[in-house]
Amino acid sequence: MFTPSQPEIPAGGAKGAAGDPGPAPTEEKGEARHMATETAQQSVLQYLTTEDRVGLLRAMLMMRGIEERAMTLYRQGKVPGSFYDGYGQEAVSAGAAWAMSASDRLCILHRDLAAHVIRGVPVASIIGQYMGREGGITRGRDGNVHFGDRTVGCVGMVSMLPDMMLVAAGLAMAFKMRGERRCAITWFGDGSTSRGDFHEAMNWAGVQKLPVIFVLENNQYAYSTPVGQQFAVNPVERAAAYGFPGLSVDGNDPEAMFEATRQARERALAGDGPTLLEAVTMRMHGHAAHDDMKYVPKAQIEEWRAKDPIDRQIKRLEPLGVDVQALRDEVKAEIDAAVETALAMPMPDPDTATDRLFADEPALLEDGNAPWSGFAAKGDS
């Protein structure tokens, strides 16, 4: 039997059979997990300076702040269409994106705004994007979180969610063909695992041993469908069938997400192929602004509210003397200014609606920000 080697990974929210919350952990098991988490926490801190840890918090605060402001703009009628956010899932994109280098490439999903923020997308362009302004990333050609800023190495998602898994595999294929030490990463949801492109991408990446990281963002619901109606076997276990490791990670812990992604990236750069990371988290808001999600039990929401990733990161940093209020104020000021800038952006000129269908010249992906201190130390950003 083929047994993929399992890289060490911080203990996280490994979960039981899909859709079945399983028996509540006994005190003893809970204690063991707590200890394991603390041990893992020590190992993560070999790689994260206090500045990194504050950076993770800042990216999450920025994501939440931008999305809250955008929801207000939506209710004011300034955001057309609907609005999708990632409230409560900020750690998934913040932690993973923090581990990616400037020349790595990201295919980002709609509840992963922190990844865009970390890569360096201007906040005003994000707000302008939501409002369909000319100054938004897609210049009003696509809406809400459907964007990728090619100038910082990001490819925007399409609505057919696992499609970008194949695109990410193709990015990785290019790196491999050119012999480059680079890595691609993509996020997708629990619902995505039911579609064929999930299989095609997992199989392709396994066969060709591609330097790609697949982040399965398990937020328990695909629109209104719970994971128990989505799969009979937790898809993280399918990774072994494709010949590479699959690991569950606490998706509400940015440092656990960072560390799991860092290790997966090391694997990829070493030529050992892809990794599937299941970020276990919870969608705390409806599928979109119109969805009151009354299909989600209230107790489930309350259980996850106690695991809020921002609160957890604050609890870690305050004892270190980090001035969280100052950070909040700074983030709020940046968002306030960005909203003003975005509101001043003109709507697109209707006469340009049929422009830019075809490229006259190549316009490719470029490098983005990579703030992790480890890149500066190694000089391989």
Partner: protein, 321 residues
């Protein structure tokens, strides 16, 4: 200059471009060691290696999707569908990811998708289709369909160099049936129409294999002077060339091997109705495959695919109008 088959010309175009540009690579099912189901990439793996002549898993969505990823990173993939029919499995990636990428985010997708298409040899419903109109209806994709060896090479090279996704329709029934003089070295054929034969009494507008059907049908048509316009490119569609031919001849027969409804020829007919009404001396006549799957058995297949006699009869009737 060398005499080549249509198939050899496609191979030659890919080989020359791969020699000249290391960003270019080919990928598809059974194209490496086996050389492809039709041997278009025969011997490529020996010259360029397994990385640039990539045998892929049997996964058409995977082929298109990974090719898109490689393209936005600066490579220039040529993705082969073993049969054009199989693009239905890669349709989403081509239409929703590749086709809309540049419009949405200004990210160009330099991708060529080769689609061996068309019927005439008992391929049956899944090895005979002409799906070009699906892609004409999908913004952001260019669609070309050569009819000669010379154009097959030149259009292939132009497609590979185009920074946009290009669907390259290569007709299987022309692979070894059509031969012609092909220039050595690298050259591009523009995405415009070509007058295959000049005439003044009637114009037959066609592309791909139907250009040859049209030429055969009208080679000796009771002394009439019949023009044959080879579209070569369906997106962009050469409106000026179409309208010029209509203005000159005033009578038009449009031939599609694809199913009749919403075919490329329907768009040409609509264009003529809108912009050349005053130049017509008779109704626009269409010859196309009726709206049924392509049947397997030879008498059934011949009954649905446009034959030389069908085109000749349509031309005769219109000339008498």
């Amino acid at each position: 200059m060398a005499t080549m088959t249509y198939l050899q010309a496609i191979s030659d175009g890919m080989r020359e471009e791969m020699r000249a540009d290391e960003r270019v690579f080919v990928m598809g099912e059974d194209i490496g060691v086996f050389g492809g189901a039709f041997k278009v990439t025969d011997g490529f793996i020996d010259e360029f290696g397994a990385m640039r002549v990539m045998d892929t898993p049997l996964a058409e969505s995977g082929i298109i999707g990974t090719a898109i990823g490689a393209a936005v990173e600066g490579l220039r993939p040529i993705a082969e569908m073993q049969f054009s029919d199989f693009i239905s499995c890669g349709f989403d990636q081509l239409v929703n990811v590749a086709g809309k990428m540049y419009y949405r985010q200004g990210l160009s997708v330099n991708l060529t998708v080769r689609l061996p298409s068309g019927g005439g040899f008992s391929g049956g419903p899944y090895h005979s289709q002409n799906p070009e109109a699906w892609f004409m209806h999908s913004p952001g994709l260019k669609v070309v369909a050569p009819s000669t060896a010379e154009d097959a090479k030149g259009l292939l090279i132009a497609a590979v160099r185009d920074p946009n996704p290009v669907v390259f329709m290569e007709h299987k029934h022309l692979y070894r049936r059509v031969k012609g003089d092909v220039e050595d070295g690298l050259y591009e054929t523009p995405f415009t129409a070509r007058v295959a034969r000049a005439g003044t009494d009637l114009t037959v507008i066609a592309y791909g294999a139907m250009v040859h059907t049209a030429l055969d049908a009208t080679a000796d048509l009771d002394g009439a002077s019949v023009e044959v316009l080879d579209l070569r490119s369906l997106v962009p569609l050469d409106e000026e060339a179409i309208l010029a031919s209509v203005r000159k001849c005033s009578k038009v027969v449009i031939v599609d091997e694809a199913n009749m409804t919403c075919a490329a020829g329907a768009q040409v007919a609509a264009l003529i109705a809108e912009k050349a009404w005053e130049d017509l001396d008779g109704p626009v006549v269409r010859v196309a495959t009726p709206d049924v799957p392509i049947p397997f058995s030879p008498p059934l297949e011949q009954a649905v695919l446009p034959q030389v006699d069908d085109v000749r009869e349509a031309c005769r009737e219109l000339l008498e109008y």
